[in-house]
Amino acid sequence: MDEALVRTLADIVKVGAPIVLAAIGETITERGGVINLSLDGSLVLSALVAFVIGTGTGSVILGTLAGISVGLVIALIVAVCSIELKLSQVAVGFVLTLLCRDLALFLGIPYRNAQVFPATFLPIPVLKDIPTIGPIFFNQDLFTYLSFIAIGAAWWWLFRTKAGLTLRAIGERPQAAFARGVNVNAMRYLYTAVGGGLVGLGGAAYTLGVLPTWSDTGIAGNGWIALAIVIFGGWYPLRVAFGVYLVAGLRTVVTNVQAQVPPQVVELLNALPWLLMLFTLFLVSGPYLDQLLRILPPRLHPPIRTILRARPPSALGTIFEQEGRH
């Protein structure tokens, strides 16, 4: 394959990694019935903390762990507010996202465009020599590999393990899971924390990988993108990952043609992913899908429906309480 194309694809995979981590994290959280709307601010704040600790100690591992902890703590705040205090997840998450971003901007002033952290580049022996695939997937940094693992692991956990079945059940009908002996709220804590940790990892992936310096401008906004992609991906890890790479790909195209076209066109192209997503959402929602299916042979209907099935977890954003206990 053309070398420039391979390089572009490798770049897309790399740039997409933090968003993949955040979006997969949110997918897990929402599958359990909790909306963590603090994603965007959480991403920025954990990126800053990871950067500060990472550069301070000179250790990528410590920096990454610090980023993960920040995401995890913020997610736990959402969980406590929702489960113990019965506050609205949307309201709490929204306030947290604004708070965390502003906090990061404030705390980050001394670090603005300061030191450059060395990118953690880790080519994998043997695999990196496979033609085309090698340079795209196996000549990357640590975080990109982690993003691959996150996609696969989330899919495997959700659809191949018993615990994943339980996870889907508590997001769909917590009463039924409870009747089957599941401690719904404990599980929700767990998966909100796991999801938040992945968001924190995504933040660390920014400042210790993709943009090896501290600057919020490259980060803020990507959390909202991840949230949108979770919906676009219908809460399926593989589809979510596909969505991320689609957006990252379109963005890369825009960056590449930037010099040759007028700025208005660039802005329009920037809006393209959203238009595409909106279009897809229209398409997969009831009536349009039926009309689309009408032109296709009936044999293809079930698989297409399965692929495009995009229904939010039925109990998303609700509070679970055992009845009759006050």
């Binding site: 191949r160 615990a163 079945l165 889907r168 059940a169 009908r173 089957r180 599941v182």
Partner: protein, 490 residues
């Protein structure tokens, strides 16, 4: 397994839902728990199955006192409950639902689970496809899945809370014979909560009757139904009659209507209804009866044909507009569609009187109090709707119907109501009819359809057939209707 409840008391605020109840259930016997709406049956069964803790009192299993923190605890002791609305996860497959909550390592043993599912289902005479999504099953099939699941987890006492509402006669027959076999051959204890006294007579060996949270009777079957009714309500009830009445002008007209139901398409449905007429819509669950009702209310699009209300085509009109034309629709999903979870009774009545910007709370409270008295609802104006018993929610739904209606579209209007409330609701509905309203209603209960309908529209395999001469035929009308629904021609 012998289960005893001793001095069980449960209060909600000042209400004593269960008042020092002592009952005992022996191995291998089938019991009925009877009582009017709000008598405390579901509360007691939820306590027995671990969904709610009692305020005081003890549960003994084979003489040993037990306490349950969760339903899973109760199931571990062999007590399983089947809820009226089966407590499963609709967006998962049958097999996933079956496996959910089994404790066996990280990876699911799909093959073993599938075999267990099929084995238990076959034992009971049920046929369940493991790979179907639960949301594509009928209520009856979902119940079967739950029973199979509870049995496979070792349930020795099975509680069924109003299991026969919403399932077909055939499914009921299958359910009952499975339960009888389980009791006789495997020593299973069964407790049936039901308002259908014919079902109780067909299935149960002993009967406990509750009234106002207290135990008022314990009988061995056979016991005359009149005696049971007297125990339940403190008086015997006259059999309902329809009475003669006059028909007015045509109010509803359906011309070659075709519409999509859940699993099939109903074609070429034509019907003309005059005011003062009561039309029952009969058919197996999901055959298109409910969809036709919704279409008449402007809530579901037609594939073809048209519907006219008082000569005006309703195409393109929303429900709000139809409501102004005197059409009202009451769905059977009480808390899902008809009532608003979390709002009080007063707030519900305030919602219906939507003139002006401000809520007139004094008027709304007064209206609520008036309707509570008139419709005999157990609850106060400030009670949140979800704390009312099922029967009282249904009464509220009827009480919310506006006055001066010309066409009432009712989906299973007496779902979950006791005998007295059913008779009472119909008395209200027939009073509306006497004022000139036409009524279209669905019901899974053929006796109800036969008793109250002037004509019956039978939905079967995509066809809708009008039956006009139910009473004239020499045969038992309900039986004949049952055959038509099942697809037999007479």
């Amino acid at each position: 397994m012998h289960v005893e409840l001793k001095d069980i008391t449960k209060t909600f605020g000042t209400l004593r839902a269960n008042d020092s109840l002592t009952l005992s259930f022996a191995e291998g016997r089938i019991y009925a728990l009877l009582g009017e709406n709000g008598a405390g049956k579901s509360t007691l069964m939820k306590i027995l199955s671990g969904y709610q803790p009692p305020d005081s009192g003890t549960i003994f299993i084979d003489g040993r006192a037990v306490t349950f923190q969760t339903p899973a605890d109760a199931l571990q002791c062999g007590i399983g409950m089947l809820h009226q609305d089966p407590l499963d996860v609709p967006n998962l497959t049958v097999l996933d639902n079956f496996m959910l909550g089994r404790r066996e390592g990280l990876l699911p043993k799909r093959k073993a689970a599938r075999q267990a599912l099929t084995a238990h289902a076959t034992r009971l005479g049920f046929e369940i496809d493991p790979f179907r999504y639960v949301d594509s099953l009928t209520i009856g099939e979902r119940q079967q899945l739950e029973i199979v699941r509870l049995l496979s987890l070792g349930a020795r006492l099975l509680i069924l809370d109003e299991p026969t509402t919403g399932i077909s006669a055939e499914q009921k027959h299958m359910l009952f014979s499975a339960l009888k076999r389980l009791a006789a051959e495997e020593g299973m204890t069964v407790i049936l909560v039901s308002h259908k006294l014919e079902d109780v007579a067909a299935l149960c060996q002993e009967v406990y009757v509750l009234r106002g949270g207290k135990l008022v009777g314990h009988r061995h079957m056979p016991t005359p139904i009149d005696e049971l009714v007297t125990l339940m309500f403190g008086q015997s009830l006259p059999r309902p009659t329809r009475g003669a009445h006059n028909l007015g002008a045509e109010i509803l007209r359906a011309e070659s209507v075709s519409l999509t139901a859940r699993r099939l398409t109903v074609r070429d449905l034509s019907l003309s209804v005059r005011s003062g007429e009561v039309i029952g819509l009969a058919g197996l669950d999901g055959s298109g009866q409910s969809d036709f009702l919704r279409a008449c209310a402007g809530l579901q699009p037609l594939n073809g044909g048209r519907i006219l209300i008082a000569g005006v085509p309703i195409h393109g009109k929303g429900y709000a507009e139809l409501l102004r034309m005197g059409v009202a629709y009451a769905p059977s999903g009480r808390l899902e569609e008809g009532l608003v979870d979390g709002l009080t009774l007063s707030e519900h009545f305030a919602l219906t009187t939507n003139n002006g910007l401000w809520i007139n709370w004094r008027a709304a409270n007064a209206l609520a109090a008036r309707q509570i008295a008139r419709y005999n609802i157990r609850g106060a104006p400030h009670s949140p709707i979800q704390t009312l018993s099922g029967g009282n929610q249904q009464r509220t739904l009827i009480a919310l119907l506006p006055e001066n209606l010309r066409l009432l579209l009712l989906e299973d209007p007496t779902r979950g109501l006791d005998v007295e409330s059913t008779a009472w609701v119909w008395q209200q509905l027939l009073a509306r009819r006497d004022q000139g309203a036409a009524i279209l209603f669905t019901s899974p209960d053929l006796d109800e359809i036969v008793t109250y309908s002037d004509r019956v529209l039978v939905f079967c395999e995509g066809r809708a057939t009008l039956v006009e001469d139910l009473d004239d035929s020499a045969r038992n009308p309900a039986e004949r209707l049952g055959e038509l629904i099942g697809g037999k021609r007479t």
